[in-house]
Amino acid sequence: MKAKPKTRIKTGLEKSIGENSVFYPYLYLLPYALFFLIFWVYPLFDGFYVSLCRYDFAETQRTFIAFKHYISLPFDPLFRASFINTFIFVLETTPLIIGVGLAFALLLNLSFLKGKTVLRVLLISPFMLSIAAVCMTWEWILGSQFGLLNYYFSQLRLPTQTWLLEKGWSLFAVVLTTLWWTVGFNTILFLAGLQEIPDVLHEAAKIDGAGRWSNFWYITLPCLRPVLLFIIVMQIIASFKIFGQVFIMTGGGPAESSRVMVQHIYETGFQYYRMGEASAIAWVLFVIIMVFTLAQFKVLSKQTIEY
């Protein structure tokens, strides 16, 4: 005769958070959730409260001044300059880095192309460098008197340029550096997206008489929509957050012509110790990024692609 398996009486706690409980999966999330709440959510809202206060390093108390910082921001010429420059940077970098990244990915996806591995390594390797190394290298390349680029320009009898000391050029120099540094990452993402598209779609289109352009426009690009959405969103967020390149290469100059919002936040908070004002600028940037991201999701994720 078989012995009856022992049945244990479940305690109240086991019932509520035991394996069969609805709360059980959330127990696994708890450590991260705590981390997220303490180090992300709390600082975010505390930062918002600080933005409503006058809070300098020298002061131990936060003095509540409501939206005074937000109201005075448009009247601050440095904020205006950094706001405009950030938008210019976003407008210049986003299409450029995405377009060039896509072009390289299409090139690397060509079946007859040889040396693809070497090309991929060459494209992705700048992305592995630290920002300081990238910027210092490009500072030397773009130097006005001793720069590599100007050296070759003068050898070719072309007019030399003071890239980092000319209004207009300095921000564009930062755009070029960013393109060189990050385009490989987008290329790899696009390449992964291109390789996911079934060949049968291109073949069917070809049979129907579609040319290369039609194939790209009606097959490749729509199929890349999820990857494209991801890249555009990430690229725009990264561009709005531009800081290191400007801080190292131009310091925001000449004459504030390349000053950007994150640099303005950093200097206001950590150099001039006006934490309240810095938090207000940070929140303005946060809202701008949020609006742009939501708009992109709305516009670009309307249609889903089914193969």
Binding site: A58, P254, A255, Q271
Partner: protein
């Protein structure tokens, strides 16, 4: 047998306890101090060698230096670290920053401790000593001062028929010399050798120097009103614009002044004394000398700052560490000639006037001769922001985007904005 085991066990435990006590005693006896600074790759390694020497001669103290490589980042890091109680035990910093850090209660006042070291005001250059005080308290021990100095290419001087032993001093002399030294050597219509080169970066120390030369002021005595839009300050800025546009002796849009001087494509340049060791490394190809900063205006004046030692406020005041830190500070400050070989002038008058300094550090000695013209930065908590706005004005004017008057009026309006009501 069991007796032997028992004895061996007791002996082993005894030895182990003794060793533990010895190890504990040595660990307790050695004070480890963290020292942060922002000295660069010329005077920084020299400073570390001195620390090594101190560590060897003071086995009870172990100073662990760390450079942030850049003064800007050093100050940003220091302020945050003080706020969260993780700053180093000692810092080497510039006395011009004392008001900013005193305002956030960043340094321990050490008035009494410095007096106990036997350091007295009359032993130091007056503005250098005064620079270590803020609102009646002393926050640092002065180590040196490092003014701007004028560096010139001796070979170029000889080739242009100028006397290297008698370098220019006034504006007229500079323009005359600069015109002789500015040359198109290969006849292609482009200047290959510039008479005088200055850096257009936002760090416009040369402009700071000329403001008091023309009788101008950056800010009023109460640190409440910016005075940069005065006709004296405008005149002081205009002289730098004219170097490029009117006299044509300086290259436009230049930040590579040091490279131009080292590669002998510029004959004269102004810079701090910290570049001395770097220039020495270029000998004998580069034949150079230095002299006092020019007097373009009516009064002699030169920008200067001082390195000093301070004790950042910690989470918990550690008397033992403070005592050890003061021992190091005393060792450095009371033997100033050790340090000034790195390219500085001793803050101590006796050392600066000594025969040893004159003969062993001739270039530092040349720079020290302007001790009566030393002009420290305004003692305001807003120094960094004022510096930034002034630098932008300097850039805008020297790049030709704004006139000197427009640039300084703009800067004044911006500076007044954050001075008001604070």
């Amino acid at each position: 047998m069991s007796k032997i085991v028992k004895r061996v066990t007791i002996l082993s435990i005894g030895i182990a306890l003794l060793m533990l006590m010895l190890v504990g005693a040595s660990a307790q006896g050695k004070v480890t101090l963290r020292l942060w600074h922002g000295l660069g790759n010329v005077d920084g390694p020299y400073f570390h060698k001195l620390i090594e020497e101190f560590n060897q001669t003071h086995p009870e103290i172990d100073i662990q230096p760390r450079t942030w490589g850049d003064w800007g980042q050093f100050y940003d890091k220091l302020a945050i670290s003080i706020k969260v109680g993780t700053a180093s035990d000692i810092v080497t910093f510039h006395t011009s920053n004392i008001p900013r850090f005193a305002a956030i209660e960043g340094f321990y006042p050490i008035t009494q401790e410095i007096a106990e070291m036997g350091l007295k005001g009359e032993d130091f250059f007056e503005p250098t000593w005064q620079g270590t005080f803020y609102e009646g308290e002393q926050y640092a021990a002065p180590l040196d001062f490092h003014p701007q100095s004028m560096y010139y290419n001796v070979k170029h001087f000889r080739e242009a028929g100028l006397d290297p032993a008698n370098p220019p001093y006034t504006l007229e002399e500079y323009i005359a010399a600069g015109k002789k030294l500015t040359q198109d050597r290969d006849g292609d219509g482009k200047t290959d050798q510039w008479g005088y080169v200055f850096n257009m970066d936002t760090w416009a120390v040369q402009f700071w120097s000329t403001i008091p030369q023309y009788g101008g002021q950056v800010i009023d005595e109460d640190m409440w009103k910016c005075l940069l839009d005065s006709k004296e300050s405008i005149q002081a800025l205009q002289v730098w614009v004219d170097m490029v546009e009117k006299y044509g002796i300086s290259p436009a849009k230049c930040t590579e002044d040091m490279q131009l001087f080292i590669t002998q494509r510029a004959s004269m340049k102004s810079d701090g004394t910290w570049i001395l060791l770097g220039l020495k490394e270029q000998e004998p190809e580069l034949e150079w000398d230095n002299t006092v900063f020019p007097k373009f205006g009516v009064n002699p004046a030169v920008w200067v700052d001082s390195h000093a030692f301070g004790l950042p406020v910690q989470k918990k005041r550690d008397a033992e560490k403070i005592e050890a830190s003061l021992q190091f500070i005393e060792w450095m400050v009371t033997h100033p000639l050790r340090w000034v070989r790195a390219g500085h002038v001793p803050a101590n008058r006796e050392a600066a006037f000594s025969e040893e300094f004159r003969t062993e550090c001739p270039h530092q000695y040349n720079a020290s001769l302007q001790y009566a013209a030393l002009t420290y930065l305004p003692r305001t908590v807003h120094l960094r922001e004022i510096w930034s706005r002034l630098g932008t004005a300097f850039q805008s004017a020297t790049l030709g985007e704004l006139t000197a008057e427009e640039a300084l009026k703009k800067a004044t309006a911006e500076i007044d904005k954050f001075l008001d009501g604070r």
